[in-house]
């Protein structure tokens, strides 16, 4: 068994998830909100790989899931940044408080 208890990984992943959550809630710049989302996805990845290592060490299912998470995060980041650049070109800002024309 490894020298590091499983609870340490869970603690770090939870703390990182909450940091990402806080960033996504408070920032006004859309790109900073995207950074917060990516931090949350990464925290999830730490958990997936840690559980894979401690609960099913002879198999690699957790790592397979983590690879899928990374691939989908990459797709999401590419589309989101393209939308931000198009919005900046049209509106001159990526501040989410000014991008509210779809708000009811």
């Amino acid at each position: 068994m490894s020298a590091i208890p499983l609870s340490w990984w869970i603690f770090v992943a939870t703390a990182l998830f909450m940091i990402g959550f806080y960033v996504a809630l408070t920032r006004k710049n859309a790109i900073a909100i995207l950074i917060g989302l990516e931090l949350m996805l990464n925290a999830t990845n730490i958990n997936l790989v840690a559980f894979d290592r401690y609960i099913t060490p002879a198999r690699v299912e957790g790592q397979v899931f983590a690879v899928f998470v990374i691939a989908i995060a990459a797709a999401e980041a590419a589309v989101a940044l393209a939308i931000f650049i198009a919005a900046y070109r049209r509106r001159g800002t990526v501040d989410v408080e000014n991008l509210d024309s779809m708000k009811f």
Partner: protein
């Protein structure tokens, strides 16, 4: 013992990077702190016997996503205007909500007795990963590759400058 020291060093990188993202006013520095956090996570994956994921983390996250974010920041902001307020008015509310959720999640998760396995970890992780991707997970794998292609084309179309292209014709 050595593993624990290495774990603490990477934890400083990961959580320090995250706290840097929160505290810095400059969005460009926030993206740089974000890449520091990502590199710490690559170290975590090495500790967790996931060398392939560590390489993927560095190549895809730091090499592609973080650089893409830096480019988007440079394309969409005047870099020197760091004076303006970067956060909305709900800072305290969000801080309290995140902290309470953190305590609640930890309280629940720490009570669970995980079915820890005493088995030895697999030596041939890369072989097993390859078998999984082209074996039991072949359909999700293909779907993800189509998804990546779709998002690639979609990103190009979204970011294209329609007005200047029309002017050129």
């Amino acid at each position: 013992m050595v593993e624990q020291i290495v774990f603490f060093i990477f934890t400083i990188l990961v959580l320090g990077g995250g706290i840097g993202v929160i505290t810095t006013k400059n969005i460009y520095y926030a993206a740089l702190f974000f890449s520091a956090s990502l590199s710490g996570m690559a170290g975590y994956f090495v500790l967790l016997n996931a060398g392939f994921l560590a390489a993927v983390q560095i190549v895809v996250y730091i090499g592609a996503i973080a650089i893409l974010i830096l480019f988007a920041i440079m394309l969409s902001r005047r870099m020197m205007t760091t004076k303006e307020q970067q956060t909305n008015r709900q800072t305290w509310l969000a801080a309290i909500a995140s902290f309470l959720l953190f305590v609640a999640l930890l309280g629940v998760v720490m009570q669970v007795t995980w079915p820890l396995s005493a088995e030895k970890h697999a030596d041939n992780v890369l072989v097993l990963l390859g078998m999984s991707f082209l074996g039991s997970y072949v359909i999700p794998f293909e779907v993800v590759s189509v998804l990546l292609l779709v998002s690639l084309i979609g990103a190009i179309i979204l970011a294209r400058d329609i007005q200047t292209e029309e002017g050129r014709e």
